[in-house]
């Protein structure tokens, strides 16, 4: 421990300029977060400065190579690694968590309820950001190769993000795009795998300095991780979700039923340069008991032609369900998915069979609170603060993550609007963001009123309904999208 502290003191002295930079940017981050609407550039600068500090810290005792003075000195590998980890905790994570805390306090969030999120946010940052940067620095001999490697990794990450929203290739987009509710399962696995890889690299590098082996291990691990990330089936995540969230109500006993005969189907595709066919499905679900709300989380569909050809869809996106005002307990779900144009063209004149699994979430235990709207946030409940923007938009925000609740707003007694149907059912109190506040916008104007009722409902059960529709005739539904 004495050697650890001795090395730490040396690193503090060596990196005092970089430490000051992080602290100053942390202060600017607090100020801009509490005074500016979208200080993304400060977040970016703070992230870059923190990453730079970590890389410089690791490079203070470069690991690859055979010329460094320290390798022939009596350094204990565990003391050296301990000093680096302690430094990261004290001069990277602590300032960031203090900045987040100050932002929360300035914005009126209670400290007690924010504390788990504050801690979890740092755990995620250590595992998902600080340690991977440290591991990369531990495998590079200086800032130039470090920055070069970092840029390559960022390009891969940015490219993957773009592919989710790019129409091509469709299989990749389908592989990467997951239902929002359970995406946390894949992200958690990714963080655990990443943490295992980077901790192994740090251990191997500091104990044995086997850089070539570490680099091979890192490349292999990352490549396997990417493949696993892409091919992890999202229905499995719903099974995990169902296991983890103890159902407080038995969905199967509620008599909730789909009416396949009510299903409407349409397909549209660009007239020129066929890239994908957009498939819209709407289906009625009945038997929803009073006081409960139903949301569709995802739909997995398999279309099979009479010739045996099949097309498996990715996850369908669902908009808010429409309630049938004439029929109690009936809602219509609207989902959109993508189809391979070659399958569509091949089967457009044939009778196709659709086999589908619909993943549903039932919300209940609704609570409501009416607040007088102001342009400054008002504490509502469940960690939510709401306010009205200058343009009359209704905004609500919460600390570290949007709560895993169905949040709706009723303005002037109208039907409540859902803030977002993209609810993460993650049990963790924070997501990996530097900004500790997550804000969502309701599609309701508050220009004509001063009061709004916020209604929150808890997810009570997650369940699946399978159904089959025979004789789908694509050409009957096809419409050319302009």
């Amino acid at each position: 421990m004495r050697q650890t502290l001795h090395i730490l003191r040396k690193d503090v002295r060596y990196l005092r300029g970089e430490i000051c930079l992080v602290l100053v940017l942390g202060a600017v981050f607090v100020w801009t977060e509490t005074h500016s609407p979208d200080p993304w550039w400060v977040e970016m600068l703070l992230t870059v400065a923190a990453g730079y500090l970590i890389a410089r810290l690791i490079h203070a005792e470069v690991l690859p190579g055979d010329r460094q003075f320290w390798i022939t000195r009596p350094y204990g590998w565990n003391s050296l690694l301990g000093a680096k980890l302690l430094f990261m905790l004290v001069f990277v994570n602590l300032p960031i968590s203090v900045a987040q805390l100050l932002i929360l306090l300035a914005d009126g969030f209670p400290l007690g309820s924010s504390f788990p999120g504050l801690l979890w946010s740092q755990v995620l940052m250590i595992l998902g950001v600080s340690l991977p940067i440290a591991a990369l620095a531990a495998m590079t001999s200086g800032m130039v190769p470090f920055i070069f490697s970092m840029l390559i990794l960022l390009a891969i990450g940015f490219g993957s993000q773009q592919m989710i929203w790019s129409p091509r290739p469709l299989w990749l987009r389908q592989a990467l795009q997951w239902p929002a509710g359970v995406e946390w399962v894949r992200d958690s696995i990714a963080i655990i795998v990443l943490a295992a890889i980077v901790l192994s690299i740090l251990y191997m590098q500091y104990k044995n300095r086997r850089t070539l082996f570490s680099r091979t291990f890192a490349l292999g691990g990352v490549a396997l991780g990417i493949v696993a990330y892409m091919y992890m089936p999202w229905p499995f995540a719903f099974a995990v979700q169902s296991q983890l969230s103890k159902p407080r109500i038995d969905g199967s006993s509620l008599g909730i039923a789909l009416d396949p005969s009510s299903m409407k189907f349409s397909a549209s595709f660009p007239q020129h340069g066929l890239q994908h066919v957009e498939v819209d499905l709407s289906i009625e679900v009945g038997g929803i008991p009073g006081g409960f709300d139903l949301q569709a989380d995802a739909l997995a569909a398999t279309f099979q032609g009479p010739d045996g050809r099949t097309w498996k869809s990715g996850s369908f996106d669902f908009s808010s369900p429409n309630k049938d005002s004439n029929r109690q307990g009936v809602v219509t779900l609207h989902g959109t998915g993508l189809m391979d144009p070659s399958f569509f063209n091949e089967e457009r004149d044939k009778m196709v069979t659709l086999q589908a699994s619909l993943y549903l979430a039932l919300f209940g235990n609704a609570r409501a609170k009416t607040i007088v709207l102001r342009d400054t946030p008002v504490n509502v409940m469940d960690g939510l603060q709401c306010y009205s923007s200058i343009l009359g938009d209704l905004l609500c925000r919460s600390a570290f993550r949007w709560p895993n609740l169905l949040v709706r707003a009723s303005v002037g007694g109208a039907n409540p609007n859902v803030f977002t149907q993209f609810i993460s059912y993650s049990p963790f109190p924070a997501s990996m963001h530097l900004n500790p506040i997550e804000t969502r916008l309701a599609s309701a104007s508050t220009l004509s009123t001063h009061e709004v009722t916020i209604i929150v409902s808890e997810p009570l059960a997650h369940f699946r309904r399978d159904f089959e529709v025979r004789g789908v005739h694509f050409v009957d539904f096809a419409a050319v999208k302009k």
Binding site: R13, D66, T72, G76
Partner: protein, 301 residues
């Protein structure tokens, strides 16, 4: 005498290019062992393997009785290493550098450190990056001598230094000789000759010989033989293998006897050359011995 350092059948290949070919080395305790050899002979590689900086392809090495593959902090507390190619923490001042290293070594002698700073005339407040090459090397050596290591390994410490700095460094080393075993690789043979007790000659990845300096100086002689002209060299099969670099001019034959024996060598010369008018035998400096060996081995290669 027990060994401070030893290597047995040491082999090192870099991408199938052999650098060390079954090297055997034994550095006695309390000796000043000069490891000499031409460029690319494998001196630095040998030292790096002994210091556990590089891994050997095969073979065994021991440093202060410990397997060098497992040299850890407890061993390194007693070993000093100074190399011309070391990357130092250049942002540190000389004073901070020494103060930083002090807690790593239980045997750190503050008075000795102070003495070395004074002796080497080191500027305490100057950063290492702003030191001249000579000062930089002195600071490096001071940081290795201040804890009175049992073993000091020096890789080309005099390379590119002016004579005054060399003298200062040697003076510093001589003060530690006796209590410290010193392994020094160098091209500066005149300097090594002045204080090395043992010499090892490394060539093409093998130790060609290793012996005490006094014995080496005694057995190498430059011999000049004046014969009746025309001087001719005996046939190859008669030419002793221990006589190197033969040259013949009109009445003069010159060669290097590598196993000179004052009792037997003159008789052997007379036997081979017949009518010999004069034999003169001259001692050789280490540099001349090195050149002779290097040229002979390159010719045989």
């Amino acid at each position: 005498m027990s060994s401070a350092l030893c290597a047995q059948d040491l082999v090192k290949r870099f991408r199938n290019v052999p650098v060390l070919n079954g090297l055997n080395l034994d550095v006695p305790e309390a000796s000043v062992f000069g490891l000499i050899g031409p460029n690319g002979a494998g001196k630095t590689t040998t030292i790096k393997i002994l210091m556990n900086i590089l891994k050997a392809t095969s073979g065994r090495t021991e440093v202060l009785g410990a397997d060098s593959r497992h040299l850890g902090p407890s061993d390194l507390k007693h070993i000093g290493y100074v190399s011309e190619n070391q990357e130092m923490p250049e942002w540190m001042t000389v004073e901070y550098f020494l103060a930083y290293l002090k807690p790593f070594y239980p045997t750190w002698d503050e008075a000795r450190a102070e003495e070395l700073v004074r002796q080497f005339n080191l500027p305490r407040g100057r950063k290492l990056r702003h030191l001249s090459r000579g000062m930089w090397m002195k600071a490096s050596l001071a940081s290795a001598l201040a804890y009175r290591p049992r073993l000091l390994v020096l890789d080309e410490p005099f390379s590119g230094l002016d004579p005054l700095v060399r003298e200062d460094l040697i003076e510093g080393l001589l003060e530690s000789a006796g209590e410290t075993t010193i392994l020094i690789s160098s091209h500066d043979l005149a300097d090594i000759e002045s204080f090395a007790s043992h010499i090892g000659y490394l060539d093409r990845g093998r130790l060609q010989f290793s012996e005490e300096m006094t014995s080496l100086s005694a057995r190498f002689r430059e011999v000049e033989v004046i014969v009746e002209p025309p001087a001719t060299l005996p046939a190859d099969r008669q030419w002793p293998a221990t006589w190197l670099r033969p040259e013949a001019t009109q009445a003069l034959v010159r060669f290097v006897e590598t196993r000179f024996d004052p009792e037997h060598s003159p008789g052997e010369i007379r036997r081979l050359f017949g009518k010999v008018q004069q034999i003169s035998v001259n001692p050789m400096p280490l540099r001349a011995i090195f050149v002779t060996l290097a040229r002979s081995t390159s010719r045989t290669a």
